[in-house]
Amino acid sequence: MAMAAGDIEAMIRAALPDAQVTITDLAGDGDHYAAHVVSPAFAGLSRVAQHKAVYAALGGRMGGVLHALQLTTAAPK
């Protein structure tokens, strides 16, 4: 069971409307993605807190239908 890149991006944007989201399909198989999320909401948050915010946006799919999502996060410079 996999997710489309567009669905991942839409879910992140729904929770973090001002985020810049870049999704890369790593293996071209619609199952292994890298996501880079940049949001002003991340300012002052630890990396763990930033990643948790994205996982929350994905509503429990992380570790479930979304097994392989490499995630990097940042606040805008």
């Binding site: 990396r47 948790k52 996982y55 429990g60 992380m62 570790g63 990097t72």
Partner: protein, 107 residues
Amino acid sequence: MSTEQRIDEIVKGNDVVLFMKGTPLFPQCGFSSRAVAILERLGVEYASVDVLQDMEIRQGIKGYSDWPTIPQLYVKGEFVGGSDIMMEMFEAGELAELMEEAQVKPA
């Protein structure tokens, strides 16, 4: 003993512990493999727990840290992150700093 107590004992009983799929010699997942490679490069002594051998820990560790995926790294009882955070911190030199501050033994 509850699963949470068992996890708590492992986390607090080891300076550095990695919850992973498989073992350092035979990782069963690319993310776990990456986490092991980072710890090997840092050259620190660490314990590992193969969650595939223990379904209670496999589920329990996710609630323990409120983190949905495995691997998970703990240093001195504190949750540090998964393999993506480990890689970011390693590349920034922050993971080596953290190990130094925590006075972790070399391997």
